[in-house]
Amino acid sequence: MEGFAALYIFMLAAFTGYEVISRVPVILHTPLMSGSNFVHGVVLVGAMVVLGHADPEDPVQLVIGFVAVFLGAANAAGGYVVTERMLAMFKGGNKKQGSA
């Protein structure tokens, strides 16, 4: 990830994100926010890498690493469940009938 190559990746990824979301109907704003919330749950991978390289003799490092992985895993799992529940309602129109 040297210098300008990194900058170009940043620029292209930013445009991609912008492009992917534009023209989204209002009804999908909330699910999409939740979905993008899930995608940044990939921070879990980074947390795993840093915990994996933490000094096993240093409790401070282990605690911080544990917190990082815990939070990352929660972000990913929670983000997925919530998004999936919201989007499950968009599946195949409306077979469910309202029940009081």
Partner: protein, 458 residues
């Protein structure tokens, strides 16, 4: 070999994330999108275990299982109406994870050179703000924290705090080996900054804030991705950062609240006192009156609000709508962009109750029709139908797009009590001549209306 395999996997994961997000922007493919992204996340996690030299695996698995299962369980059990605060808290956790990554890299002394240090510090700052800010947002939406809390000279305090935090960050960047005390102080300030920025913001603006913090977390994840030289984090984080920023703008536009206004001049209880005095009285209506007016109307438009969702009345409302339709009444649902707590939240809640999409119209589609509508039935909505947003320049919500229900021949408002809306602003609609109030919880009131409509049929 292992490295090549891992990097190739990350590449595929990043591509699938982008395709998944793209799929999520259309109702037809949305569900597939999240499922694909889910598989990609599992793949990324599994592959990471093969990273050469990875230690502390036991602790790692424990953390994943603990964090994952807590969040999985809470996400499965939460009510649909409480979704926004769950999104907020999961987002905050992601920001916290990004900040913790930076903290650990500093603790390990693995941050070398001013460029990497700058990226790490920036990611830590943004991640910390996202973490503590999201916790406050969660507390507000969950009702743990009731009121907007404004310090005297709030904007000045914000700027001073931000400047101090930035200064601390700068010291860390330029010092070769930053002291632990300095790093701890930096994180304390960054977390406090998130709290003081979010505290004064009123509940009505919270969706925009959550969306903004979501973009923050994405950015923080992207920045830490650079520190760790991990392309999956860089691409996913940056894409979410950009997408989240755009979503925030779209939401702010839907509410006619520029994002700078949301942060620096929140609608608060103090501002709500302003605005012209409203004349007239509220006129009450019985469930029988409401039933007969709607049963013999040719077109009824239902405007649901968060109050309906909290009462869990959407099923009842849909049952009533179906009854009316059987009697030949044309029924439509009109949804304000920010009905519920976030844009699109109400659509999700109505979909859950079984209302078909072709009966749901958004503000632009339906506003022109209100003068031809016989009955507008407002259930638990308030600020989004307040005509002062159109007429009273001194009102804090002036200029916000509203549903013009006051132009319908008759307006029936189902409301629990006589109080003001979420923003605390008095609603001029309730005092209009064509408006009638049907008091009671949405669940009971609509239940009674259904009984009367049925009686009229026989």
């Amino acid at each position: 070999m292992a490295n090549w395999f891992i990097n190739a996997s990350y590449f595929v994961v990043a591509v699938v994330f982008i395709i998944g997000l793209k799929a999520m922007s259309s109702p037809v493919t949305a569900r597939k999108g999240i499922v694909w992204a889910g598989y990609a996340m599992v793949a990324a996690t599994v592959v990471t275990f093969f990273t050469p030299g990875l230690g502390n695996v036991g602790l790692m698995v424990l953390a994943i299982v603990a964090g994952g299962s807590v969040a999985w369980w809470s996400g499965k059990t939460v009510k649909m109406t409480d979704m926004p605060q769950m999104v907020a808290i999961y987002n905050g956790m992601g920001g916290g994870a990004a900040a913790a990554i930076a903290a650990l890299e500093f603790a390990r002394g693995e941050v070398h050179g001013p460029v990497v240090a700058t990226l790490a510090v920036a990611g830590a700052l943004i991640g910390s703000i996202a973490f503590s800010g999201s916790c406050i947002a969660y507390a507000k939406l969950q009702g743990i924290m009731k009121n907007a809390f404004r310090l005297p000279q709030q904007n000045l305090v914000n700027i001073v705090m931000a400047a101090l935090t930035a200064l601390l960050g700068l010291v860390i960047i330029i010092s070769d080996v930053p002291s632990s005390a300095m790093i701890i102080l930096f994180f304390v300030f960054a977390l406090a900054l998130g709290v003081i920025l979010t505290c004064p913001i009123g509940g009505a603006d919270m969706p925009v804030v959550i969306s903004l913090l979501n973009a923050f977390t994405g950015l923080a994840v992207g920045l830490e991705g650079y520190v760790l030289a991990n392309p999956a984090l860089i691409v996913a984080g940056t894409v979410v950062g950009a997408a989240g920023t755009l979503l925030t703008q779209l939401m702010a536009k839907a509410m006619n609240r520029p994002i700078t206004n949301v942060i620096f001049t929140p609608i608060s209880g103090a501002a709500a006192g302003e605005g012209e005095a409203i004349e007239g009285t509220m006129k009450e209506f019985s469930a029988l009156d409401a039933a007969s007016v709607m049963r013999y109307a040719s077109k009824v438009v239902i405007v649901p609000g968060y109050g309906m969702a909290v009462a869990g009345a959407q099923h009842k409302v849909w049952e009533m709508a179906q009854l009316l339709e059987e009697g030949g009444v044309e029924v439509a649902f009109a949804i304000h962009p920010v009905a519920g707590r976030m844009p699109g939240h109400m659509n999700v809640l109505l979909a859950e109750a079984g209302v078909p999409y072709d009966k749901i119209f958004d503000l632009e589609e339906i506003n022109a029709e209100f003068p031809q509508v016989d009955v507008a039935l407002v259930i638990g909505a308030n600020d989004v139908v307040n005509p002062v947003a159109r007429t009273d320049k001194t009102s804090p919500i002036y200029g916000m797009p509203i549903l013009n229900v006051d132009m319908a021949h008759n307006v029936i408002v189902v409301k629990r009590g006589k109080g003001a809306g979420y923003s605390g602003i008095e609603n001029a609609l309730f005092y209009k001549d064509n408006c009638r109030m049907l008091y009671g919880s949405a669940q009971e009131a609509i239940g009674e209306v259904i009984t009367h409509v049925k009686a009229l049929e026989s």
